[in-house]
């Protein structure tokens, strides 16, 4: 019964969510000449900059690895996480104005941000596959497994977004703290380097980073055309579901108090 109510409520507000997402799109690319094309160009250009810096300036080499695809996979996925979680975090505080005027289920705000950035992410897959094709990386049936890891990453991000948006209502310092945390997280996720370059104890530690698991999952498919190991499957799903549930619980428990901190 309770679940049915939640689903009915969700259905009622899906239209609001599509409206908010389309609003975000319109506002984001307003007055830019290239518009949505930027969603395709930006990851591509970022990848080229990083590839140039690491391979030319630092003489960084990864033998036998399609470095462009390697780099771009990590970049695109981590960018999704960092942008979506950041937007989700600020979404509740930025919408206080609205929240004090009409009743809207509050989870709509972080969720719609994660979806909005998600659409951007899907767009950025186009240049990624372009690079895959151009560099001649193998294409296999394993591609069909990619949606699994993307959904895991999405759930994980929503969970983090729920927690962050809740904390930041009570403690605005979170905005600044999280930007630092994100930078740390970025370096602790092997985006441009390989984990095997690190000492053994760090390698073990890094494997607990869900983002490392998601990126590795995608790379196994895109670079090696292999099926990811059962352990990776399990890790991805488990971390996503657990984080999602934690996020939901935290958010639900605290949401009625939000309005006092507006």
């Amino acid at each position: 019964m309770a679940l049915k109510n939640i689903l009915l409520n969700f259905k009622k507000y899906t239209f609001l969510m599509t409206q908010m997402i389309s609003r975000d799109f319109k506002v984001k690319y307003k007055r830019s000449v290239l518009g949505v094309l930027w969603s395709l160009l930006q990851p591509l250009l970022m990848m080229f900059v990083m590839a140039l810096v690491f391979s030319q300036m630092f003489k960084f080499r990864m033998e036998g690895v399609n470095y462009l695809v390697y780099l771009m996979t990590g970049l695109v996925m981590f960018n999704y996480f960092s942008e979506a979680s950041n937007n989700a975090m600020t979404s509740v505080v930025f919408n206080f104005q609205l929240m004090t005027k009409v009743y809207i289920p509050k989870y709509i705000f972080p969720l719609s941000k994660c979806l909005f950035v998600g659409i951007n992410f899907l767009l950025s897959l186009i240049p990624l596959f372009l690079i895959v094709v151009i560099t001649g990386a193998p294409i296999s049936w394993n591609y069909l497994l990619l949606p699994y890891v993307f959904i895991c990453m999405f759930l994980f991000t929503v969970g983090i977004g729920f927690v962050l948006s809740t904390i930041s209502v009570f403690l605005r310092d979170m905005f600044y703290i999280y930007s630092i945390l994100l930078t740390i997280w970025q370096y602790f996720t092997p985006i441009f380097y390989d984990i095997s370059m690190l000492p053994m104890y760090l390698q073990k530690l890094f494997k607990f980073n869900p983002l490392y698991q998601y990126v590795t999952f995608a790379r196994t498919i895109l670079l090696d055309a292999k099926t990811p190991s059962a352990m990776t499957f399990l890790w991805c799903g488990l971390s996503a579901v657990i984080m999602f549930i934690i996020g939901c619980i935290v958010f639900k428990r605290k949401q009625d108090k939000f309005i006092y901190y507006a």
Partner: protein
């Protein structure tokens, strides 16, 4: 069954919240022995033990000085806020018009805002599409549909917002001092629209500082002062008492 029922509803605000959230203050508070005393002082009860029932079709006015708790009461009824104590029961679809144009995005056109604001108010896509022409016609803004809201005058924005909010036929209409929107012609039109809704059996909760409007429209009036209910009952009687208390003279006298 009463359509709205409030059962000893109380609402507390912590005025101290802002202050406590600077690091310096948190630090001082941590080492301060007066902490508990201070907390009590910062508490503010916007509503104290309010109970009443509204039957279907009633038009209930809320009066009281500024800061008496009228808007808070409307927010509690509309579900924007949950009461600290007590219970609120609403058996029907509410259309809250506490503040018009909630969720308008000034970077979007009027047309886009009709859809966005409609969605914020909980309308479905098909409903907005169906009522789109009606909204545009009522707002008198047909020629400005593709203009950005940021270029609208405040009157135009309010007209658009009013038209979106009133296109539904809600079971409960919550109105917070919005009938003075737009130019004279539009004011007349919006008043008629509300009368029409009342005739159609909509239950209305209405806040206004215009005693005349309240006397004209309402069947029952609730008078709140400092978060407490002073009086409830027949519109004319409560309004007269309120006017006398506030102005020190009788309402009838003021007209002479």
């Amino acid at each position: 069954m009463a359509i709205i029922r409030l059962d000893s509803v109380s609402m507390r605000f912590n005025l101290g919240i802002e202050k406590d959230y600077s690091f310096k203050q948190a630090f001082i508070n941590f080492f301060s022995f007066k902490k508990k005393k201070k907390k009590k002082k910062d508490e503010f009860w916007a509503l104290k033990d309010i109970s009443f029932k509204v039957e279907k079709g009633e038009v209930v006015g809320l009066i009281g000085s500024n800061g008496a708790g009228k808007s808070t009461l409307l927010k509690v009824v509309s579900g924007v806020m949950k009461p600290t104590k007590g219970k609120v029961e609403v058996n029907g679809v509410i259309s809250p018009m506490i503040e018009l144009g909630a969720g308008f995005d000034s970077e979007l056109t009027a047309r886009e805002n009709i859809f966005l604001n409609g969605a914020v108010l909980g309308y479905s896509k098909s409903f907005i599409e169906e009522k789109f022409d009606e909204i545009v016609k009522f707002s008198e803004l047909k020629d400005f549909l593709f203009f950005f809201i940021k270029n609208f005058s405040s009157g135009m924005t309010a007209k658009l917002a009013f038209s979106i909010s009133t296109v539904v036929n809600p079971e409960v209409l919550i109105v917070d001092e919005i009938l003075s929107v737009g130019d004279i012609k539009f004011q007349e039109k919006s008043k008629n629209k509300m009368l029409e809704m009342i005739k159609g059996g909509t239950t209305v909760l209405y806040v206004s500082h215009s005693i005349e409007a309240i006397r004209d429209l309402c069947t029952k009036v609730i008078w709140i002062e400092h978060g407490e209910m002073v009086m409830i009952g027949d519109a004319k009687k409560v309004c007269d008492k309120y006017y006398e208390k506030q102005m020190g003279k009788k309402f009838e006298d003021s007209k002479k």
